[in-house]
């Protein structure tokens, strides 16, 4: 896996052909992107947060949010039992209402993929696994690739990798690019989500650059955060990433997905992200194939709001399962 193969991927897009040749060339491309004005981006995100989503539109958004969830547990204390319980919840979020759709995927550490596989095989919920020395990414490429192969061999459909933020922040874009390419290769048929860890990138300019870098290197999804760093997903960050996938699709014809993760706990937050998707990337992205929400406790709030929307009243929290 090397620069030649990377170049090959973009060879049919002449303006991109020089992208992968060196740090300097990557820098030219990434630093040539239009800047992001932080004040303006925050104002736009705040303005979209005032959209008022009611009735049918709300019900659709609640169901769609459920279908977009990567139901996640990423704790040192995770056990097979915990993962099995989460898988049951993923398949049938609300035992009282079979009309509630299953979530998009469950997301676990690589060593628990096999457990999830046993619960979920061919039942419509995908298995995602974090890899590449998640969450810090501080390991050699060989270790990271072994981590990825471990996950895919155990049956992961999707791999959530982290970029090397240290390399990115010190301008070694070529290294980040090559790592993503290598992981892409190691994933085989699995979908690759590239976690930018925007909380550590700090500026929205960096978010835009890292988004492009990941997309150029072959990411299927770009993802905000590991959930282990604060701030995690924020509306302005999501806005910038959604604009990046839109612009990338304009330039190359390829649609890359976006996953927001970390700190999204309420249905209201989830719906606000859907509004951002709709009005930034466009309706085409309003599908689990192109937008995901990494979350755990969000699901119960979505269920509660859904039941409120259908029955007109709130059920108590004990009417929804805690897994």
């Amino acid at each position: 896996m090397g620069i030649e193969q990377a170049s090959q991927v973009i060879a049919d897009r002449p303006w991109l052909t020089e992208v992968a040749t060196s740090d300097a060339a990557l820098r030219q491309v990434l630093h040539g992107l239009p800047g992001v004005d932080q004040v303006g981006a925050e104002a736009r995100a705040a303005s979209l947060a005032t959209r008022s989503i009611k009735r049918d539109a709300k019900l659709w958004a609640l169901d769609t949010s459920i279908r977009m969830i990567d139901l996640t547990t990423l704790e040192g204390a995770d056990t097979p039992g915990k993962v099995r319980a989460m898988c049951a919840k993923a398949l049938r979020p609300d035992p009282a209402d079979p009309a509630v759709p299953p979530v998009a995927a469950v997301c676990v550490y690589p060593d628990l993929v096999a457990v999830a596989r046993a619960e979920l095989a061919s039942r419509g919920v995908a298995i995602a696994s974090v890899a590449t020395a998640f969450p810090s990414g501080r390991a050699s490429l060989a270790v990271k690739l072994a981590d990825v192969r471990d996950a895919t061999a155990a049956g992961a459909d999707e791999v959530d990798m982290v970029i090397d933020r240290g390399a990115f922040l010190s301008g070694r874009y070529g290294q980040v690019y090559e790592e993503v390419r290598a992981v892409r290769e190691a994933c085989g048929s699995a979908h690759l989500k590239v976690i930018l860890e925007t909380g550590e990138l700090a500026t929205l300019d960096n978010v835009a650059r890292a988004s492009w870098l990941a997309m150029l290197a072959g990411a299927d999804f770009i993802k905000t955060s590991t959930g282990k760093v604060s701030p995690a997903a924020t509306p302005p960050v999501a806005l910038v990433m959604l604009a990046a996938v839109r612009d990338y699709a304009h330039a190359t014809g390829r649609r890359v997905g976006v996953k927001v993760a970390g700190g999204i706990r309420t249905a209201k937050d989830a719906i606000r992200y859907l509004v951002l998707v709709r009005e930034t990337a466009g309706q085409e992205w309003l599908t689990p194939g192109l937008f995901r929400i990494g979350a755990s406790s969000l699901l119960n709030d979505l269920l509660m709001q859904r039941s409120k929307q259908l029955t007109g009243q709130y059920a108590g929290p004990d009417y929804f399962t805690l897994d």
């Binding site: 008022s52 279908r67 649609r255 309706q283 309003l286």
Partner: protein, 575 residues
């Protein structure tokens, strides 16, 4: 619902080729809805394995927002409104009235008294008496209490004001709720704070330290100007000390229909804080929030006569401007009327400030943050349907990025939602009057005849009411009328430039000089531009941003005098 909707189909297609889809209906309105909201498809199939990128899709045209109308029940509109004179509401002396309508539906809202010369006499006499007996000699700290009270009541009744403003003016509730009403309250709060600190405003005083002392240096200038002694001993005294600047007396204030409540606040708050009394003449088409504000004055126990509201048309305004008992005229409106007022006031000794029209340039350089610049362009010209004197109606974009900026702009305009002003998701509301709609239509037709290319996003307008789609003209030359005349509507003219010098030359090549915008990531260029642009307000990487602490006003045919900030006090003080 929805107006113009996202029309980007395949990602790489230029927007023109994109099928407008079944997209263009209107945000729901009573009795004249377009299609009902798209019925979404909840449920659907289970989530797919990751390789199936399609996934279940919302039916038909995708996820659309259901109608989310703000309730109009919160505000009670009377059938008839009198003039607010000397603390009470009373009919016009000659009993005349005129209707005010909802421009989004053409439904009549109320009948409003039409003030004639006799009413102007009564109002000015009431204001004079209040000035001489109560308000002019009241300590600033006491005046401030009334202003704080008005500000707080405005906040408490914010929804009422927002709904009434959107009904009478046609602007979207999102704007009246998030901009007009909060800013109006903020102006009262801001000037309430000045009322007992006028000695420190750097206006007047023995040394003549004036408004040239530098921005933000109000208190420093004031102290340096020799009023330090007064400040130590004169706290309780307020006015009446030699050093303190004096109010002018009775202010006649004539305001426009584009921000009815906000303009009333811009006029009343500094006038009252400085110890003047007011006769306010709201615009003919938007009298209702000024009358509700009069009710708030009553609620705040403001002494009778301190604020008087005379509803009426142009003749009422002329009578007020020409009244010999008025010491000060403040006018916001068209340049044409401003000139008439200027002639009428000449030689009378009345003080005058004018805030008139504009044809502002919004200058986008090739290193601008494109997405935020596009937001700024949209906010610059489509905010309040373009009924904004400082609207960025001329987009000056550097030629090297013109194509991409215009393409992005078109995509963005396709997401704007036009329709029922009371719907919380509406971005573009109604044009305020038939007269204004005719003017916008006529100038747009002229733009086409002159050879500019006209474009609007796919958009169906409601059948009743006054509506105009967001419109962009490209291929516009400096010599076209649409590049020179104020349209005061949602119509943008796009021009290009090659160098910063050319940008400045073109931006300044207008008889107006109210505002300008500069979009670039280069700080030095922002400063370079700001020094050269002949405009009272220059926004950098933002547009149409207002704050009571920031002075606002124009050059040349855009008027003179400043409103807002420390500078805004000078218009109402005898320095």
């Amino acid at each position: 619902m929805t107006g113009i909707r996202a029309s980007r189909g395949q990602s790489a297609r230029p927007p023109d080729e994109v099928a407008p889809a079944q997209s263009a209906d209107v945000v729901g309105q009573r009795g004249q809805r377009g299609e009902a909201a798209a019925s979404p498809s909840p449920g659907g199939t289970a989530a797919r394995p990751p390789d199936d990128v399609a996934g279940p899709r919302p039916a038909g045209r995708g996820w659309d927002y259901a109608p989310a109308p703000e309730s109009r029940e919160i505000v009670t509109i009377a059938a008839e409104y009198g003039l607010f004179l000397d603390g009470t509401f009373s009919p016009a002396a000659d009993g005349r009235e005129f209707p005010t309508i909802n421009p989004a539906t053409e439904e009549p809202l109320a009948r409003v008294a039409l003030a004639g010369p006799a009413d102007v006499d009564r109002a000015v006499a009431a204001a004079r008496q209040a000035y001489e007996q109560v308000w002019g000699s009241m300590p600033g700290a006491e005046r401030a209490k009334y202003l704080y009270r008005i500000a707080r009541i405005l906040q408490e009744r914010a929804r009422e004001f927002a709904v009434l403003e959107s009904l009478d003016n046609g602007k979207p509730i999102r704007e009246s709720r998030d901009v007009d009403v909060p800013l109006a309250a903020a102006h009262f709060f801001y000037y309430a704070g000045w009322a007992d600190k006028l000695e420190y405003a750097g206006i007047g005083g023995a040394s003549g330290a004036g408004m040239t002392g530098g921005d933000g240096g109000a208190s420093r200038t004031g102290v340096a100007g020799g009023t330090g002694g007064a400040s130590r001993t004169g706290v309780a005294g307020g006015t009446g000390r030699g050093m303190a600047p004096r109010p002018l007396g009775v202010a006649g204030q004539v305001i426009p229909w584009n921000f009815p409540l906000l303009m009333a606040a811009w006029k009343l708050a500094p006038a009252l804080a400085t110890g003047n009394t007011c006769v306010l003449k709201p615009a003919e088409t938007t009298p209702l929030t000024a009358l509700l504000l009069a009710e708030v004055c009553q609620q705040a126990d403001l002494p009778p006569g301190v604020v008087n509201v005379l509803t009426g048309a142009g003749q009422t305004g002329s009578a007020l401007v020409g009244h010999p008992g008025v010491n000060k005229i403040a006018f916001t409106g068209s340049t044409e009327v401003g000139k008439e007022i200027s002639r009428a006031v000449a030689g009378t000794g009345k003080r005058l400030t004018l805030e008139l029209g504009g044809k502002a340039a919004n200058v986008v350089f090739d290193d601008a943050p494109v997405d935020q610049a596009v937001e700024g362009i949209v906010n610059g010209i489509f905010f309040n349907q373009g009924h904004v004197c400082c609207a960025g109606s001329r987009l000056l974009v550097q030629e090297s990025v013109a194509d991409i900026v215009v393409e992005r702009l078109r995509e963005r305009l396709a997401t704007l939602r036009l329709g029922d002003p009371l719907d919380k998701n509406t971005d573009i509301g109604a044009i305020n009057s038939r007269e204004q709609l005719d003017k916008i239509s006529a100038l747009s037709a002229i733009g086409e005849a002159e050879g500019a290319q006209r474009w609007s996003p796919p958009c169906r307008l409601p059948e009743r009411g006054y509506w105009f789609p967001p419109t962009v003209f490209t291929g516009v030359s400096q010599s076209y009328r649409i590049a020179r005349e104020e349209i005061f509507g949602p119509v943008l003219s796009v021009l290009t430039f090659r160098t910063p010098e050319e940008a400045v030359t073109k931006a300044n090549n207008t008889p107006y000089g109210l505002s300008a915008g500069v979009w670039t990531e280069k700080g030095s260029r922002i400063l370079w531009m700001a020094q050269r642009l002949r405009a009272g307000v220059v926004w950098a990487n933002t547009y149409n941003r207002f704050d009571p602490a920031s002075p606002f006003g124009g050059y040349r045919e855009s008027g003179f005098g400043r409103e807002g900030g420390r500078h805004g006090l000078a218009a109402y003080l005898d320095a």
